[in-house]
Symmetry: C2
Subunit: 350 residues, 2 copies
């Protein structure tokens, strides 16, 4: 456990089901904080669709500067059909990830036996995707000419640097090292995206020499989707670029009990800025405000937050509570968002 | 049936299992040609890894010009571990697709009840992906600076034009129109790749007004992977860009009986150049030359070839033969590549 007793959290509930699931994650954090002798001092930031409609702002610099002063960020979800696609995603979510240098987007996948999987025989699935978070096709480096005319041309530029690739690859190797299976799979598409793909491949090959006990593997992204369906148990640590990581982690969630369980951490391993924790799922506006959303992914994201802050016991307590809660699900009927949060909070504190 | 009686085929077996599976596709084409009163005059082109090792050539202009004179192209697979990744893919396969303006990369997916699916309850799955084939991140428009140094930067540029997007979107709508369910799903990532994504979205919305009976839907690529696992039966026609199409069609193959059954056509709908038919699978060098590859995807690609040439009865005969063969698979033991080809050829002719 860390020696610091009070942690400051910036909370961005965001859009759709974001605020609902975030409330449950905070409930669980409160439950464990009492037991583990820590306090989470939180400040809520009103950012997202409502704010944009009211003021036209997505993330003003002053608020970004304030958020930067916290120990960690808890985020719900961003995106709303009433806002042009991309405005909130680029102006808020990706702005946070890029500004705070969240270069490791950590997304664990595991199949809880009691939840099962849509796959017939998935095997023992427990892997983590280390998705690069600050480069690739997400840099916003593109544009369009003659928009709306038959001569329109639109480009998107994927930018990849040795600096950016090496640091995330190194982090992925270190994670593989700390896991029992000690395996790392690079996923890219280096037979087509030859410049970026070769940079990734060369970097993995170079860093691999420093980790001789890690088994290293390469898959094209298309082939990786096949193995995620036919043999997900083969994966341990996957390292991949920002866009491939986005795609693979939704697929990983789908094969391992659904997006309702998929947690993530946007991590700045150098701790030069706070890391941010959020469920992988989106804002799901169709079920927002109805207490229908499963807050488990947000709660598991809070466990990743504890882990990142050095509160390993609190993290373990939350994970154990979630596992126990999931095991009971098959028995009980449908529960509301806050009933699930209550149940997990009670167990996590107990 | 077309009035032309002799069709010229350029045959590129390529690498790994490519030549083996192509041989079976040709066997089946011969079987149906006799029955349907047509002849396939073929010319084999020795292209791929062996040729590259011997001469350094991937696809010389003179051979491309010759290939261009044919009615259609049958291709096996391209890519070999002894050749730097990208050399054959870009220099041969993608060169053919781009030079011959194969802007519709057609990839049907269907679950044969007797084959089943790794998914628990896939439903009735029968959809087709219309993957754009001449633009997007596949254009080869990128580069690298200071390669091999800590200051390396590598870019990949996705290029999208109104011209290129509209023609493939129009083709996809026409296909949806000809299918019973009349549904079209655009897959992109317009909340992040805003320039390209909005061009695609605006184009689909515009063309949709001309097809009022088609139900139109949009999914982000990450969400699309989820639905392909949890509810693949919801799809009818998917239209998407070159890279997303690459990823989604391997996933589609995985959920619908495997890559051994996934066929594709690289189609030039304007017929300004020959279209090219190939299995979706790769060259699988690990099992090459061992008669272990399933030639069914190549054979189904030959059925798409017949269809494209207007030989609809021959196409139907091949598809029926494949369906019958697949139904018997559960009973029999393992068969060699050519045993499967023989069995399908016999049925297709019968
Ligand atoms: C909302 C969107 C911008 C985001 C992404 O693409 O990264 C989401 O899909 C995710 O995976 O966190
Ligand atoms: C071999 C490779 C270049 C090719 C592609 O990416 O298009 C293959 O994966 C495919 O789907 O046909």
């Amino acid at each position: 456990m860390s020696t610091q007793k009070t942690f400051t959290l910036a909370v961005v509930g965001g859009d759709g089901i974001g605020p609902e699931v975030t409330a449950e994650a905070l409930k669980v954090l409160d439950a464990v904080s009492a037991v583990h002798g820590v306090t989470f001092d939180r400040t809520e930031y009103d950012l997202g669709a409502k704010r944009w409609h009211a003021t036209g702002e997505t993330l003003p610099d002053a608020e970004l500067a304030e958020i930067r002063q916290h120990d960690a960020i808890l985020l719900g979800a961003v995106g709303d059909p009433t806002v042009p696609s991309g405005v909130l995603e680029r102006g808020l979510l990706l702005k946070l990830r890029f500004a705070l240098d969240h270069y490791v987007n950590l997304r664990p996948s595991k199949i809880y036996p009691s939840v099962g999987s849509p796959l017939a025989a998935p095997g023992e699935v427990d892997f983590v995707v280390v998705r690069e978070g600050t480069e690739g096709p997400y840099v916003g480096n593109g544009g369009a000419l003659r928009v709306g005319t038959p001569a329109e041309i639109a480009t998107e530029v994927s930018v990849n640097t040795a600096y950016g690739v090496e640091r995330v690859v190194r982090d992925a190797f270190a994670r593989a090292q700390a896991r029992p299976r000690k395996k790392l799979t690079l996923v890219h598409k280096n037979n087509v995206l030859v410049h970026a793909g070769h940079l990734w491949k060369r970097t993995v090959d170079a860093v691999a020499t420093e980790f001789p006990d890690i088994a290293v593997d390469y898959l094209h992204v298309d082939a990786a989707t096949i193995f995620l369906v036919t043999d997900p148990a083969r994966f341990d640590v996957i390292v991949t670029d920002n866009l491939f990581g986005d795609i693979l982690t939704d697929l990983a969630a789908a094969i391992s009990g659904g997006i309702g369980l998929a947690a993530s951490g946007n991590i700045n391993p150098d701790k030069t800025a706070p890391s941010m924790f959020e469920p992988v799922h989106g804002s799901a506006p169709d079920i927002a405000g109805q207490q229908k959303a499963d807050p488990t992914a947000a709660i598991l994201s809070a466990a990743l937050l504890c882990d990142h802050l050095g509160l390993t016991e609190a993290a373990a307590a939350i994970e154990a509570a979630v596992t126990a809660d999931i095991e009971e699900r098959t028995a009980g009927g449908a529960r509301t968002t806050s009933e699930i949060g209550d149940a997990i909070a009670k167990r996590a504190a107990g």
